[in-house]
């Protein structure tokens, strides 16, 4: 059975004084299986973040329904962890207490809490930074704190909204690999939003390509490059593989058709 189902979901933002009515999502049908790594890609305005917001419970659809384990999503919940692009860590807390936040809210006893936090920090390679202030960390480290914090609450699925968008290329690749390792280790369903085609192809088992105005799913691909990486651990070989490059051109053509790029 699918963990997540979008059934004929549409989201329409009503017109305001300054902007006309916008159809952010139109007739979305999507089913996600346990342990999928689903990457959603598309140009800005294609509704990919709206898709994630629906699943996170930050907003509700105008029509249709979003189901998790068969029941409609109603508001945010600990079964769906979210990693944001920025601004989501608490600068008044050190790394340890940021990661412990969810366990604290759920009143997990402190001994158990500490053990769990150490484990999650270890997973993201930040065990030595537990007592650092988050604003002292680099962008890549901050995102790893965000990932550890989401994992600490042990959600059923992990939602990532362009988590690597603000990172430099080298840091970005290392965090990509970290996320894949964590995904394999935890076996959680991941929904990952990005606007980088390479990142999308490299990481996903399922690629959802969206097009804007109105936001629609254009095509869904099944991918295998991430499994190959987890076996061979050679990202450069994968990214220069002719199959990878051909795929990249195909997706690029959907997102950025050549004649349109000229106009």
């Amino acid at each position: 059975m699918s963990v997540i189902e979008f059934r004929n979901v549409s989201v329409v933002f009503p017109a305001s004084r300054k902007t006309p009515e916008v159809t952010a999502l139109q007739s979305i049908e999507l089913a996600l299986e346990p342990s999928d790594f689903v990457v959603v890609i598309g140009r800005s305005g294609c509704g990919k973040t709206t898709l994630l917001n629906l699943l996170a419970g930050f907003m509700s659809p105008t029509s249709g329904s979003v189901l998790m384990d068969g029941s409609p999503v109603e508001g945010p919940g600990v079964d769906r962890g979210v990693v944001f692009q920025k601004n989501a860590l608490m600068p008044w807390l050190d790394v340890f207490h940021n990661v412990a936040l969810g366990l604290k809210f759920q009143k997990v006893p402190s001994a158990q809490r500490a053990q769990r936090v150490r484990q999650c920090l270890d997973w993201v390679g930040l065990a030595a930074f537990a007592d650092h202030r988050v604003y002292e960390l680099s962008g890549g480290m901050r995102q790893r704190v965000g990932i550890a914090r989401a994992l600490a609450a042990d959600p059923k699925i992990l939602l990532m909204d362009e988590p690597l968008g603000a990172l430099d290329a080298l840091t970005r690749e290392s965090v990509q690999e970290l996320i894949l390792d964590l995904w394999r280790k935890s076996g959680k369903l991941v929904l990952f939003i990005t606007h980088s085609i390479e990142e999308a192809l490299f990481m996903g088992t399922k690629l959802v390509v969206m097009t804007p105005r109105p936001g629609r799913i254009h095509k869904i691909y099944d991918l295998d490059f991430c499994h190959r990486f987890l076996k061979e651990r050679d990202s450069r070989a994968i990214k220069s593989d002719p199959a990878f490059i051909a795929m990249r051109e195909e997706v690029l053509e959907i997102i950025h058709p050549k004649q349109e790029a000229l106009s």
Binding site: G77, R80, P91, W92, L101
Partner: protein, 269 residues
């Protein structure tokens, strides 16, 4: 460029030490000018007594006092008024500001009230407060309280609004209840602006002190200054001004230290 760093386009290149030196030189120059103007007879002592005379008078005020109270008693009376009003304002303005920041109804109800009275000069509504509350201690503290309340309340509200949406959503996905979000996310997130509001607020408190002590006070720095004016005791007036200035400045430094200690992350997020 000879290996020199490029100059800041706004020329903000003074080291802190340089700034302190400049401030010190300014202060000393003004004191020297004061001393020169009075000893050379450029200004009559009635209008501006010499530094020596003021210093001597300060000594007299400490030992003998003025208008039946020593300088300490005047200072204590004013400190008590300003800080009771400040404490009362902190206890009320922070919760109300938070409420206004998270609740549109509270904002809608309270916004016009606060925005209306905030720019009014305290002297304008002092008569009303006297009619309502009499001429006792309560009226004085309430007048100062009103002046302190608005800036703390409004900056708390602004601080709450400035907490990034992502932080609140993140807390919600981590299972935080409404109360937990306010206690653990909104309150610390708004703390930098709350502290700024307190610093601005206490400044307004000192500004309002003299107005508060205009009516039926028997002690207080504001009262002392006003009373001294009636006797043309310019040296007492100047001493009073200096004491108020030093206390207000000292407290401002204290609050800045508190900010550095409590919110070292300010502006770093």
């Amino acid at each position: 460029m000879n290996g020199q760093p490029v100059k800041d386009p706004l020329n903000r290149h003074f080291a802190p030490r340089t700034t302190i030196a400049i401030s010190l030189i300014t202060t000393l120059s003004l004191l020297a000018l004061w001393w020169l103007a009075t000893t050379q007879g450029w200004v009559k002592p009635l209008f501006l007594p010499s530094p020596n005379q003021v210093l001597g008078k300060t000594g007299d005020l400490i030992t003998e006092g003025f208008a039946d109270s020593t300088l300490w008693q005047h200072t204590w009376a004013s400190l008590f008024r300003v800080f009771s009003a400040f404490a009362l304002a902190c206890l009320t303005a922070v919760p109300i500001g938070i409420l206004m920041g998270i609740h549109d109804l509270a904002k809608g109800v309270l916004d016009p009230v606060i925005e209306f009275y905030r720019p009014l000069p305290p002297l304008a509504y002092l008569p009303l407060i006297i009619i309502w509350l009499g001429i006792g201690e309560t009226a004085k503290i309430v007048l100062i309280f009103l002046a302190v309340f608005a800036p703390i309340c409004l900056s708390t509200r602004a601080g709450v609004r400035a907490v990034a949406r992502e932080k609140i959503l993140a807390a919600a996905t981590l299972g935080a209840s409404r109360v937990q979000i306010i206690r653990y996310i909104v309150l610390p997130g708004a703390l930098p602006e709350i502290l700024t509001g307190m610093r601005v607020g206490i400044g307004f408190g000192w500004t309002t002190l003299v107005a508060a002590e205009m009516v039926a006070a028997t002690a207080g720095l504001g009262f002392m200054v006003l009373n001294a004016k009636d006797f043309l005791a310019t040296d007492v007036v100047i001493t009073g001004i200096f004491v108020i200035g030093f206390i207000a400045y000292g407290f401002d430094l204290l609050m800045r230290g508190l900010e550095r200690w409590l919110v070292p992350w300010k502006g770093q997020d």
